[in-house]
């Protein structure tokens, strides 16, 4: 191998996962740009790569790169936490290739076959046509096998090695994460039943198990990058798990307002989802608290240098703490009450929330993990920010924030014109879409999307180059 610094096979496997994740991240942005262009110029790639296909690739690439980066993060931290080599790493490596190959086939089918006849062969081999989990059934089964293999690696290692609080949380969380996917693997004629269970995958992933995963990764990162006190960090982690699952599991009710399900979900969904921002505030406070505490403790010893062992990664972790609260917490709370959601549900408002929440809650911390891996792979003691890392961080964050504001404005136009005024008909919909404030918002979204994409190019360049840079302490 080219690098001499990674002794652990688990960490080597992690770098494979991170590399593939970064490539898919790029693909996500490319197809997002295609879809954004189509909002401005509807004839762009019409009947070649229609909006529906660009959007499938945009959101599925999002899910896939995050899952890859999450698996990578676990393989990365396992040897550090358990103090042993990951059990069954050979199988883990094989499953990586199976997973990556399956993703490539699914993407090629989405790109070139796109749709099929209305029968089960389409569901099995082309598309399941269910948002975020369009992957055909054969791939579903493959994903379950790969996920179970990953969970087995994690469990066997956790049981054999030192079982820290972080590892315990991850074990419980990842088995729920893998198990929940099964709820999205059946066909029914009843669309209300369909959507009821579809949310078990989408919501319980994104608003419960993924958030807990982020809590665990943040805990690991704080110990690694700051030397934060494990007992304090893990206590926070358990409090976060209580708050996240306590609000997030029944917070699912906010998806059950309008899909044919009974009215009592209004109250349950409103109450518990209104509580969902609280753990995100706690996580934000927690990161800043640990930073201040360890820095203060060091300065009390008369040492004036920063406690941060990896500046770019830590920047992304802090952005995560803030972005999670702002994107998932604030932007989610905006429209979580049924009285508001009646008008905002299914508008660009949701898209605004989706962009900032996925970025703030997940993209940020996973990019932070990429930087931790670059540091480890290159044997760097203290990793500094480079010009490129600062520019890329600013452009990506600014770009996503800009897209979010633009989509929020577009959402307002839709809520008022289409929903409140026109009553959600076909012509009401297009009246709102033709309004000048809506079209301007879409222009701004595209511009901000381009800035995000350019920021990504800088990020990728920095990730490839910074390991060799002379500015770091080795």
């Amino acid at each position: 191998m080219a690098n001499n610094y990674l002794k652990s096979e688990s960490k080597q496997l992690a770098t494979w996962y991170f590399t593939f994740a970064a490539i898919i991240f790029g693909a996500q942005l490319v197809f997002g740009l295609v879809a954004a262009i189509q909002f401005v110029m509807p004839s762009f790639l019409y009947q070649i790569l229609d909006f529906s296909i660009a959007r499938i690739l945009h959101i599925n690439a999002l899910v896939v790169w995050m899952v890859f980066a999450m698996f990578g993060s676990v393989y990365w931290l396992l040897p550090d936490e358990t103090e042993i080599e990951t059990v069954g790493i050979k199988v883990g490596k094989l499953l990586f290739w199976v997973f990556a190959a399956a993703i490539v086939v699914v993407v090629l089918v989405f790109l070139f076959i796109q749709v099929g006849p209305a029968d089960q062969t389409t569901i099995w081999f082309i598309t399941e046509g269910r948002e975020y989990i369009e992957a055909p059934r054969w791939a579903d089964i493959g994903i379950v096998i790969v996920a179970l293999g990953f969970v087995a690696n994690l469990f066997l290692t956790g049981i054999k090695g030192k079982q820290t609080g972080i590892v315990t949380v991850l074990m419980a969380d990842m088995i729920a994460f893998a198990g929940l996917y099964l709820a999205g693997m059946f066909f029914t004629d009843n669309i209300s039943v369909d959507q009821y269970w579809w949310w078990w995958v989408i919501h319980l992933w994104v608003e419960a198990t993924w958030e807990v995963f982020v809590g665990a990764i943040a805990a690991y990162g704080l110990i690694k990058m700051l030397g934060a006190h494990r007992q304090v960090v893990e206590m926070w982690l358990w409090i976060e798990v209580s708050m996240l699952f306590g609000s997030g599991i029944l917070g699912m009710g906010h998806h059950y307002f309008w899909i044919g399900t009974p009215e009592y979900w209004w109250e349950i969904g409103a109450l518990f989802s209104a509580l969902e921002p609280l753990p995100l505030v706690a996580m934000f406070v927690h990161v800043l608290y640990d930073w201040g505490k360890t820095q203060g403790a060091q300065e009390a010893h008369g040492e004036k240098v920063s406690v941060i062992k990896n500046k770019p990664a830590f920047t992304w972790f802090v952005l995560n703490a803030f972005g999670n609260f702002l994107g998932a917490g604030v932007w989610g709370f905006f429209h979580t009450l049924p009285q508001i959601n009646l008008y905002t549900h299914g508008t660009q408002f949701t898209a605004a929330h989706g962009h900032l929440a996925f970025f703030g809650a997940y993209a940020t911390i996973l990019i932070g993990m990429f930087y931790l891996a670059v540091q480890g792979k290159n044997g760097i003691k203290v990793m500094k920010s480079t010009k490129l890392s600062i520019w890329s961080t600013s452009m990506i964050t600014g770009g996503v924030m800009g897209m979010t504001v633009a989509l929020t404005i577009a959402g307002y136009v839709q809520v008022i014109v289409e929903r409140a005024q026109m009553g959600a008909t076909w012509s009401g919909y297009f009246d709102s879409q033709s309004g000048v404030w809506f079209t301007q918002a879409m222009d701004w979204r595209l511009l901000m999307g381009v800035i995000t994409f350019l920021g990504f190019i800088l990020l990728a360049t920095d990730l490839l180059r910074t390991g060799k840079s002379a500015i770091h302490e080795r």
Partner: protein, 228 residues
């Protein structure tokens, strides 16, 4: 020194996490049983006996469906076969669907099955929303069956050269590229005549589902299609 406080004890918080998660999960599972019973699909006997289901049986396509304010519930609800004036459906008034109003449970079920499969096979939800879920590039289809644009007062029947709502919708679905309603046009997805019929049945059935008043004020102000 005082005893260590329980609030700074990791084991206390670990147990709290386990109990809270367990309790929330059990509550969710219990509610799932209740909700599953309430959203199970009805059948032809329910419709004939005047039993209101949140998700009616497929033979609902034999009936006239409307979406009106229920004074009892304070929002719009779907009425099947007429409004009994007391906040419930009459289940009397029929409506021809492709020339028939006597589809058997099997025939209507097959059409709905084909339509639901079609809605997934053509990735409808990656441009449209259904019950508000999906993508935001094209109109919401929850109550598309009741959209004035497709009715006798709307323009789509004339545009497609058809004399009924269902035929106009089916024609549009097969050749959307011929009937643009906006610069954003639906692509041709290779939908066959039979698939289109299934999709329209799926949309008619969808409009009969009780969505707790979503969308609000549907069609209250009837904008002129293409009137921009």
């Amino acid at each position: 020194m005082a005893n260590k406080s329980v609030w700074s004890d990791n084991r206390f918080w670990q147990r709290t996490a386990a109990w809270v998660t367990g309790f929330a999960s059990i509550l969710l599972i219990w509610l799932t049983f209740d909700t599953s019973a309430q959203i199970s699909m009805g059948n032809d006997a329910d419709l004939k006996n005047g039993v209101t289901k949140r998700v009616p049986g497929p033979t609902v396509i034999n009936y006239k469906i409307s979406y009106e304010i229920s004074t009892k519930r304070g929002h719009e609800v779907p009425y099947i076969g007429g409004n009994d004036g007391k906040g419930g459906s009459l289940f009397k008034e029929k409506e021809k669907f492709f020339g028939r109003d006597d589809y058997s449970e099997k025939e209507a079920g097959d059409l709905l099955h084909l339509g639901k499969l079609g809605s997934q096979a053509k990735n409808c939800m990656d441009c449209h929303t259904l019950m508000g879920n999906g993508a935001y590039y094209a109109p919401d289809l929850t109550k598309a069956w009741l959209d004035p644009a497709w009715g006798p007062e709307g323009s789509m029947q004339a545009v497609t050269g058809k004399s009924t709502k269902e035929e106009a919708m089916a024609e549009f679905l097969q050749h959307p590229e011929l009937y643009p309603t906006h610069a954003r046009m639906m692509p041709n997805l290779g939908i066959t005549a039979q698939e289109a019929k299934g999709l329209v049945a799926f949309l008619k059935h969808l409009s009969s589902i009780d969505t707790n008043g979503f969308p609000r004020n549907f069609g209250k102000i009837q904008g002129a299609l293409n009137g921009k």
